[in-house]
């Protein structure tokens, strides 16, 4: 009896740990194991893990279509967000006016202090639901709570806030994404390597949580970075910082962790100018310019995905809520979009699209005609 109990507990522990490790960005080749110590140290994991198995009873929001949905977006400040918006407008058109009659839109220009009053402006129009791409986890927490207080269900899309008072979050486990990139780098270079780290925009949850996951892994091996700088998801900023790093550290650098592919493009350009060999880089994405450069230069990389097409999943979630159906409190886009999984340089050719312009982030779910309309398709040569 006692042995059966032990066996049962062992199997239960295995299942639990498997469920933890498999949350988001864990379907690729690297799966870093999250320890209880890491969970205790991370408010993000403490928020996400319990929500994995929770559903929100949305019956209070149920109403007949068509719906008026508000989208407080990052705004067209770069190609990722431009395609995010394009996917949103295309998908609303694709669903038809009998499902979504109006998409109220707010463009935050990537700034929390613009987004906070904008959310107030959107809520003043009494939408049926609010989809929010938070430009600051802390700054947008109170506005999210006010929306819920007003009776407007909130879907967080692509980024998180610090309150749990929303209906659902669409994204992926960013902590795991950052951790997996770090684990690949250590596996590829070795624990004795000298590493650099370039993060996205400080203060945004996407950047901060990935960094947190990566540092947890580096710390667990006792690895200290040579340097860590924010690259603001910018090619220019990435190149500028890399030039300084190359001047300071030269060929000491064994590997680089990056929070986004745009910055890697800048790094590649800096290495090219310095005529130096590019070390392994963890932090590519399915971004066509990055993939083109990576194929040309032939260095080792590990890429993850953060598809702008996830807005279609966010819109589906909003509709599901307004139909009164129970809704998971955390929706991992990998479950709906299996192609959005991590990959390495060995598969670079499979993900590169010669017809896409350099700034397209995949996977894209819109038809090619839409991409052409937006100027994201290039003329085929020959």
């Amino acid at each position: 009896m006692f042995r059966k109990l032990i066996c049962g507990l062992f199997v239960l522990c295995l299942l639990l740990s498997a469920s933890i490790v498999s949350i988001g960005q864990g379907d690729g080749m690297i799966t870093f194991e999250i320890t209880q110590e890491m969970i205790d140290a991370s408010p993000y994991l403490q928020s996400v893990i319990p929500r994995l198995n929770e559903e929100y009873d949305t019956s209070e929001f149920a109403k007949d279509p068509p719906y008026r949905i508000a989208l407080a977006a990052q705004g067209t400040s770069n190609a990722w967000s431009a395609l995010f918006d394009a996917h949103a407008f295309w998908y609303v058109e694709h669903l038809g006016e009998d499902v979504i009659s109006e998409l109220l839109y707010g463009d935050a220009q990537g700034k929390a202090d613009i987004q906070v009053p904008q959310v107030e402006d959107l809520l003043a129009q009494e939408p049926d639901a609010l989809i929010l791409v938070p430009m600051g986890a802390a700054a947008l927490s109170a506005p999210v709570e006010r929306a819920m207080m007003q009776g407007v269900p909130v879907v967080l899309c692509a980024s998180a806030v610090e309150t749990d008072n929303f209906v659902t979050e669409v994204g992926t486990n960013l902590y795991m994404a950052g951790a997996n990139l770090a684990q690949w780098l250590i596996d590829t270079v070795g624990v004795d390597g000298d590493f650099l780290m370039m993060t996205g925009i400080p203060g945004t949850s996407t950047s901060d949580i990935m960094e947190e996951g990566a540092l947890a892994v580096f710390d667990s091996y006792g690895i200290e970075m040579i340097d860590k700088q924010p690259g603001f998801w910018s090619v220019a900023e990435g190149k500028k910082i890399m030039e300084t790093w190359l001047a300071q550290h030269g060929d000491e650098v064994d590997g680089i962790w990056s929070g986004g592919a745009q910055m890697v493009q800048g790094m590649i350009s800096a290495y090219e100018d310095a005529e130096m060999a590019i070390p392994p880089i963890a932090g590519g994405e399915m971004q066509n310019g990055f993939l083109r450069s990576a194929i040309e230069h032939g260095f080792e990389f590990y890429a993850w995905m953060y598809p702008n097409a996830m807005i279609t999943i966010c819109l589906d979630a909003a509709i599901q809520i307004l139909q009164g159906e129970p809704t998971p409190r955390f929706i991992d886009f990998v479950d709906t979009m299996p192609e959005a999984r991590p990959f390495t340089d060995a598969e670079a050719e499979d993900y590169y699209r010669p017809r896409w312009s350099d700034d397209v982030h995949g996977p894209v779910t819109m038809p090619d005609e839409k991409l052409a309309e937006l100027g994201f398709l290039v003329e085929e040569s020959g």
Partner: protein
């Protein structure tokens, strides 16, 4: 013959004077009416109580800073540091309050005290060290921003629950924050119209040498305006804390330019000596309604900068006509 000369044909001298003095302000309010008509015809939710109270509350955030800025500009000065002071005020108030209701008084006192200190330093450097206000406050913009980001680059501290709820408090349908802004507008208007201090500001802005020779306490008045301006920035920092519940250093960048824009649109001369509270209110409302309307109509925010630029040029062109 310029445009104003043609417009004023056939009018008496007093009518011309009235139009020259208040014409641009009428133009600003006329433009606001046009925006309201566009909003009402394009969106059925523009003229709802919920949206109008929302606009009124949002106007307070820019309006309070703009009032302080207007007083400084009336004396031919400028304060470029208000955005950075708003940023630092949010952090100080959030850290001192730390989520505790019992700390509210201390947080408010510390934040207003910070505003007082910064204003006194600005006044000292302008009056005693004789550094131009532009240079003093430009340096201050960088210093206060640097201090803020040294404290934290990510959100810190928190507001107490009652302080967060203050943001949504209303008297009838009117938000308390909008009432507070209204009270400050009236106080500033009274200050300018009925007190010696108000008259000193116009005199200093008109001609500082003449004001000095006429016995106007120039130094004291300039200490006063920089202190009021900095305290108005600190009050705005407290309002932002109530709005977000945490001390976020991302807030504050660019507020100084928004405030200066509102003041200029409202007819205050950048060279000092001329300006009204009602004009500044017009500038604040024009910017606030434009931002609200663009969201209502789903227009890209980059267009807002374009529209603001056009409004500034149009306003300055009107005042130029008046000057001619």
């Amino acid at each position: 013959m310029n445009i104003s000369a043609r417009l004023f044909d056939g009018l008496s001298d007093s009518q011309r004077l009235f139009l020259r003095r208040y014409g641009p302000i009428f133009a600003v309010y006329g433009f606001i009416v046009v925006l309201i008509i566009i909003g009402a015809t394009q969106s059925e939710r523009f003229l709802t109580v919920r949206n109008l109270t929302n606009v009124a509350r949002q106007a307070a955030f820019l309006g309070i800073v703009a009032l302080g800025q207007m007083l400084v500009i009336l004396t031919a000065g400028i304060d470029l540091s208000v955005g950075s002071l708003v940023k630092l005020s949010i952090l100080v108030s959030a850290i001192v309050m730390n989520g505790e209701t019992s700390n509210q008084g201390a947080a408010i006192a510390a934040t207003l005290g910070l505003g007082l200190l910064v204003g006194l330093i600005h006044g000292f450097l302008v009056n005693e060290v004789k550094i131009a206000p532009f240079i003093v406050t430009l340096a201050s913009l960088g210093i206060l921003r640097g201090i803020s980001l040294s404290i934290s680059t990510s959100p810190v501290g928190s507001a107490s629950r009652p302080f967060i709820m203050f943001y949504v408090q209303k008297v009838g349908p009117v938000p308390v924050i909008a009432i507070m802004f209204g009270a400050l507008l009236i106080l500033t208007a009274l200050l300018l119209r009925y007190t010696a201090f108000g008259k000193y500001l116009y005199a200093i802005g008109g001609n500082i040498e003449v004001a000095h020779l006429s016995g106007v306490p120039v130094k004291l008045a300039r200490y006063g305006v920089y202190v009021i301006c900095s305290i108005s920035a600190s009050i705005t920092g407290l309002l932002w804390l109530s709005r977000m519940g945490v001390g976020d250093p991302a807030i504050g960048d660019g507020i100084e330019l928004q405030a200066i824009t509102a003041v200029i649109i409202g007819g205050t001369s950048l060279f000092g000596g001329r300006g009204t509270v009602i004009g500044t209110l017009g500038g604040v409302l024009l910017l606030g309604i434009t931002a609200n309307l663009l969201v209502m109509l789903g227009v890209n925010q980059f267009i807002q900068g374009l529209i603001q630029g056009i409004i500034i040029v149009a306003a300055v062109a009107l005042y130029k006509q008046e000057g001619d």
